[in-house]
Symmetry: D2
Subunit: 344 residues, 4 copies
């Protein structure tokens, strides 16, 4: 922590700051510059006092944190990558994993038709919403428990492990009976009561980035899960809110590369919410893989124009199969490069 004194700070101000640093359990180190004085607080404190508050002390201009605030999520602590086992499917390993399925489970026919089709096209996990977080109370809120039973049936038939969202601490146990991967939605990324509850579950967690969360805030939300006892966390970049309105969100693909640099946790991308436009999903998915994502989560519906939620961003069954072929397609040619590829 660096405490930056005001240019006109008095010697007594500096002495008070030094005293506060020491009483917070840090070692103070003072640098007297030509224009101003800086106090570095070394060590890691240890008695729970929040040193940031010293920004309020007389003579202090600002307090700047130096160290990363997350620990268990950090690659500094654990350089080797985490591979999360989801019902037998490794996420974070060598191969890209594709999760696919409808935004909401709407009916037995809709779910099973989708499950069969996405499996045939190469998906490894099945997604489907049972409890839906909807901006308006007048929109379809999900089939709830009925949907969970349908998801279990779909797993039985296809063998695909199940991913579904948890909205509330009260539903955690029931959902965990049916699902292999518990999703925390973007709007719940900082629902700390939910995170603390999920930290105690014996199920992997899919933690979506909040629409206005920085990468650091996202990793700190993961830290709640890790420090609470659940090491099986998969991160999911799903777009952030910006001024651009042509796309539903702005998918921050560089954040995937950055998160993999800072953390050992697997990171996947959600091109459906990330763009909100069906026509962009295939191209953006290929980009997500190129940037280093460990997988994708994609919304697929047998008839998007009749979907009860997220129709405009859902692929139909043929569209999903085409996307899977596109992902495996050859790379584009770089002018001036001698390297080319051919299919074996």
């Amino acid at each position: 922590m660096i405490i930056n004194m005001l240019e006109g700070a008095s010697e007594q101000h500096t002495r008070n700051v030094i005293e506060s640093v020491r009483s917070a359990g840090y070692q103070p180190h003072v640098i007297y510059g030509t224009e101003r004085t800086i106090v570095a607080a070394l060590g890691s404190g240890g008695n729970g006092v929040q040193l940031e508050a010293i920004e309020s002390a007389p003579g202090v201009e600002s307090v700047i944190a130096i160290a990363h605030p997350f620990k268990l999520a950090s690659r500094q602590l654990k350089p080797e990558r985490t591979v999360v086992n989801v019902g037998g499917v490794p996420v974070g390993g060598e191969e890209i994993v594709v999760i696919a399925g409808p935004c909401s489970v709407e009916s037995r026919e809709q779910l099973l038709a989708t499950a069969r089709a996405v499996k045939a096209a190469g998906a490894q996990l099945l997604r489907g919403g049972a409890y839906k977080p909807r901006t308006s109370p007048y929109d379809f809120q999900g089939l709830g428990e009925e949907a969970l039973h349908l998801l279990s049936e779909a797993r039985e038939e296809t063998g695909l492990p199940i991913v579904t969202e948890v909205l509330s601490t009260e539903d955690v146990d029931m959902i965990a009976e049916h699902a292999d991967l518990l999703q925390v939605g973007a709007r719940n990324m900082q629902n700390f009561a939910l995170l603390r509850r999920l930290a105690r579950m014996n199920r992997p967690i899919l933690l979506k980035r909040g629409p206005s969360a920085t990468v650091k805030e996202w990793l700190l939300a993961a830290e709640y899960l890790l420090v609470g006892g659940n090491p099986n966390v998969i991160l999911c970049e799903r777009g952030i809110k910006t001024f651009e309105t042509e796309t539903r969100n702005t998918l921050d693909l560089a954040a995937i590369a950055l998160t993999k640099e800072l953390s050992h946790l697997p990171v996947i991308a959600d091109p459906s919410h990330g763009t909100g436009r069906r026509s962009l999903i295939s191209a953006v998915s290929k980009a997500a893989i190129a940037v280093g994502a460990d997988g994708l989560i994609v919304e697929v519906h047998p008839c998007p124009e009749r979907a009860l939620s997220d129709g405009p961003q859902s692929l139909d069954l043929a569209g999903f199969a085409a996307m899977m072929r596109h992902l495996s397609g050859p790379p584009r040619a770089i002018a001036g490069s001698a390297v080319t590829f051919r299919t074996q």
Copy 2:
């Protein structure tokens, strides 16, 4: 709902859209333009089909909603303003109400000293965090139930009704025993499980705007409370996330005027979170009142430089009293205006 067909859409595409509009319970109305065709869907549907999904149909370019999605929160439905009674204090009436107190309840001494001082300076309600939503799991998380008892004691001594935050459905009942106004924090604005639970409580709710929520999304979150049975909702603008880093958030004061135009609910401002800088709080509070806010919620601490949370944005006791005097100060002179004021 306006369905905007692509320029090259076929007559069959348009017929299909018309059919879908009709089967969703709306009356279709077609306009054939020189360049493109538009289908207006009139009425309010009624069979639960989400017409937005038709954006996925062949030949459709976009679907544009015309009507406001919130109903009970709207001034169109209820033109007269709502006044919410919080433990005997009316919020949303003629007079501006100031809520003040520490970010977190840290000790009996800290809370009572603050409560006495803010009461003396004119505050009408006492705030204090018992359960704290903290970005990092390593930060102080609040005293919990102990803090609730201290808040009750402070009310008994000062007569100030109590405002405190609810993080989880599981804590709702216990907190409601002690608090007069239940706060939903910005990060929980779209925690729909919590909103549904609070909608069934016999306590008024303070609903903060999420850091990336539009005014419409905020009013739809209020709609969850209203439609669930709780008419006593106070809105709170506390700043949104933008690229500006000099202030903690960007306080959107125009949104207060807009929200009061669109809705009958009272709206207050949080200059502490809205700016994150103590030196700006007094000026910004005066602006919030000028723009039409019904009140303020301000963080106050006897010794901000030792606060366990939000020190840099907390006023000390003397600073709060000075702010209250500033709020009641005379307006500034407008050049060319003949009107002036003097204190009675």
Copy 3:
């Protein structure tokens, strides 16, 4: 400047950084912590080397600037406030100055009718666009030189000094013959060629904040004018781009208080562009004054529904007069406050 070494940085890395700091003209000062090493670079350099680039050196994690990058615009250098004289009207003094007029000069009748009306209502300066920056090349681009002559005529009749926008270095001289205050529009805030040209003019400058400019970037743009020789700079907050679409921009009123804390330059507010909605202008203007703005710039048109630009955010003549009365109205009552006001 603080150079923060990586946790695993070697002693040689640190030695290299120390050497680079010294050769850039700064005094290095090393702090060996328990977890990492920090190098502080003291002094002000002086040989033009950009120390930020050292972030690229092996073993360096980050470089953090401590000092403010603007100098002449800073209150640390010049604590007393600057008052800019615009054709005899002081801006930045005790009284609030209101600038009003049409977005674009459209005709002699339109301009003169507006000029007379805004003068009668109390405006001190007349605005009117001659050269218009329009997002689309197909929109009205302004009357150009003809508008300048009309503005001169309006000044002659009403006595109101003239404010108009400069889009290009090539128009500077001609516009300066007619205008008393030269406006740099938001989209040109970092048009450095234009800033350098205007720095050499003997005319005050109105510098609008860019839609994605931080307060620091804005003050650095002002620094271009000041360091180039023009001390007469008025800043104008006109809203920033955010995710909120209900308002055209998000007017950052706290930035006005902050800018006045950091700089001695006068700051005014543009509620027309800041909100884009006529119904909000009066309330937001009052808030801008309350937060500390030195003035307002407001779009007024005799018939906004026929305006060639910015109609939805323009007040009509009666609306402007009503706004001026509202600005001078009494403050609202604070519950618990004993202070009240009455009109003299």
Copy 4:
């Protein structure tokens, strides 16, 4: 254009709107719904009246544009893709084109060493700043004309065509004598005086997206060039401003796919400014190609830690060569996919 009347609008209000639509050269078409009335304005107007202003008329709630505002840049007008010839190098064709070189030209040695190295690694065009737009007036502003001569010399030696930025209308002619592709920087995207001047040049233009420009605003800026007579426009996505501070900007890769869907113009990506972090450039570049970019523009410096500008985001010579190899590397394996590749 759809004019959406207020729920309580009178019949006379609607008649006035119909009249205004007609007098603006559009055909009005009225739809009387159960709750509100909608007026559609068909056709393309033609007499220069801005129909948006009708939002100001009594009884009108909002005006919604249906058609895209850009024409010449649109794929609806010109479905086949534009290939821009830059000194013999086609941009927008089958092969990806890489532009590389230093942020600023600093010296003959620096430029020539970089030019030789990037050519050897496969770059097709050489970038180098002569006139630099710098946030602070105290930062290095570029070598100006001297840099132009050095760039010409580098082209002579390596054969690489030259890309450099134009800051001002006054420098256009001189720069065009030396450069093959004239760059409009992000901060000048809406410098309409500069765009109009460049529209008359016989040189291709590289138009960067502004940091707060929507895709539509960007295409409208391109429209200024096209309608002014210059069909050779290359677009460049370089990141937008968001709340995320870990990266310098947020590179909007989905916007590349979207822009290629909406327009026939070539689009390249700038991973250097888009991320601001050297470690992310290689991964993000591969993603840009995967999403459909026609090329890249990358900052390269022989010694980034001594660069006079943009050091932290510049690759060194070996780093650039490694990036070029990475771009041509094999695609990653998709679980469940039978398709694999090998190098020929």
